[in-house]
Symmetry: C2
Subunit: 335 residues, 2 copies
């Protein structure tokens, strides 16, 4: 460890530690010339402040935690990139936690974050559970939490999401416009806010088109790809849908595999639209029509808002929902 401390600088310059500290912080109390000398010496000796000492004293860590269900989905990877970008600009560090879609991990992580380890938390909920008391508890302790994407609307804080309900409608109506009448919905979980909203949008669009909702056309996500594929295959065989709405990238992939295995022509016999942030869906056979969320921006906003609330004293996060628009990219899978 560098182990150059403020005391070392003080000794070298024949000043007191407190003067050094103030000088490094550009305090108005300190002589301009002294500041210069101090800063130069600091640079020369490669002084790096001990963040633990500062953290202990100031009760702030300049660190935020990010908890995501996974990191390999391009949506979350890009969101983290956005978070990192905003954090970095504001001199915050980012601690990362991956819950692997399990709220038990999420809970453990959150509970370990008390007592100053981080100044705030950004989280996209794992979604296999509805009881978010542990999040409220964290808030009550004074640790601010910002939610994004998979949120719980009952938690009193700022939530950054995409327009999931509208997108559910848009996705379904796009398929309807392309002539589909028998549309299956491939969902994540009934406990994930994004999925609930998209599903509601799906139902609304059907209703508006006077098409009866058929629960047998609903499929739920499993963590096992093979299971997803076989579930989709069985619906394809039993219910002969002519359109599929895949609420996450993984399910769109599984749908492609299922269709391929059954020799069903995607785009002709079955049209597929998927929520996805992967750039290469363009190269799929056929190219996948997507609803693409502004992942980077969502992350960036979440971090910016959290950090703003940290920097202004007595500022508490508004209980509001910020919705960023997604884009529908029409491609050959719904030709």
């Amino acid at each position: 460890m560098s182990s150059i401390t403020i005391k070392d600088l003080a000794q070298k310059l024949n000043l007191s530690p407190s003067t050094i500290s103030k000088a490094l912080k550009d305090s108005y109390e300190i002589n301009a010339e002294t500041k210069l000398r101090v800063k130069e010496m600091a640079k020369q000796l490669k002084y790096v402040p001990n963040s633990y000492a500062a953290g202990l004293r100031k009760k702030t860590s300049q660190t935020i935690a990010v908890i995501v269900p996974n990191i390999t989905d391009a949506f979350f990877a890009k969101a983290i990139y956005g978070i990192h970008s905003a954090a970095n600009q504001n001199n915050y560090n980012v601690l990362i936690y991956i819950s692997s879609e399990d709220y038990k991990n999420e809970k453990l992580f959150i509970e370990s974050l008390g007592n100053g380890k981080v100044d705030g938390i950004i989280i996209s909920l794992s979604g296999n559970n509805n009881n978010h008391e542990y999040i409220r508890f964290t808030q009550d302790e004074g640790l601010p939490v910002v939610l994004f994407d998979c949120v719980d609307f009952d938690i009193d804080t700022t939530k950054i999401i995409s327009d999931d309900y509208t997108n559910g409608i848009k996705a379904t109506e796009h398929l309807l416009q392309r002539g589909c009448r028998n549309i299956a919905y491939l969902g994540i979980s009934e406990q994930v806010s994004t999925d609930i909203s998209r599903r509601e949008g799906y139902k609304f669009a059907l209703e508006k088109a006077h098409i009866a909702f058929d629960p047998e056309l609903m499929i739920t996500y499993s963590h096992n790809t093979a299971t997803n594929i076989s579930r989709i295959k069985s619906v394809l065989q039993n219910k002969k849908p002519d359109g599929l709405v895949a609420s996450i990238h993984d399910l769109a992939i599984a749908a492609y595999y299922a269709c391929n295995e059954l020799n069903i022509k995607i785009g002709q016999e079955v049209k597929i639209i998927g929520f996805s942030n992967f750039d290469a869906v363009d190269l799929f056979n056929p190219p996948l029509t997507t609803i693409t969320q502004p992942a980077f921006n969502i992350g960036e906003q979440a971090a910016t808002i959290l950090i703003q609330s940290l920097e202004k004293k007595n500022y508490t996060l508004k209980n509001e929902v910020i919705t960023l628009p997604s884009v529908l990219y029409k491609r050959a899978s719904t030709q």
Copy 2:
């Protein structure tokens, strides 16, 4: 903040802070019954240790930093997942830094990590620079560094990589076996170790097949996708290669776009093999033949080794290269 401290527990239980501290750490000095009382009270009051105080005192942060060039390439996303997994199992936290392929960021990050903020660093080099003095300096300060994937073999530490040289050969020979005689190489940068090794492998395979190396068949990566596509198009038009080795996923993608724009049939007229960790390349048109690195394992190993070295005192990281095998998945792009 929770603000339950050891002192609070001490007061509640009529014990001294040091007894509490020892009890929580399961010290042999403490009566079993006392330990129980302490732990119960701690749980009841949801005591969370202040990691900054402990860190200041013990000079260890139970935190490692990860620096990656980007996070949206599936390779790095999976590597981070592996790192997080190993870290989490060993009760380490993970700070994440994304250099955006620029060593200047990398350098800034590293320089900010001195003085106890982290116990060690795992890094995949950005590669737009060859002078890694800042890494050596960090090591000299006593901060251990483990390199993975994009490494500098001249840095004295443990490096976890994939068998890039062999893979360069394997990729090229696969194309040769499929009848290609005029193979272009789409590279990242002459300063990135992975790319250098793969390129050497490519050259070796050509030589072995008595095919002259043609520098005009080499393309270098730009951060701009459009530039990559146009560079590849111009080689396709001018040099009429019948095979392409893409040393990263992004370049394979660009190659697909280039071929599509020029109406060149991938798999027939030009065969493409790409280094990639994306799961969905199977669905490409045509499916992309890949060399796939064990990304998760690489990350996991890097973290495990770093943490091991941290836990054992007086243990320094060996100056060795650990090579994990990649897999060649043959698909229709090289049919």
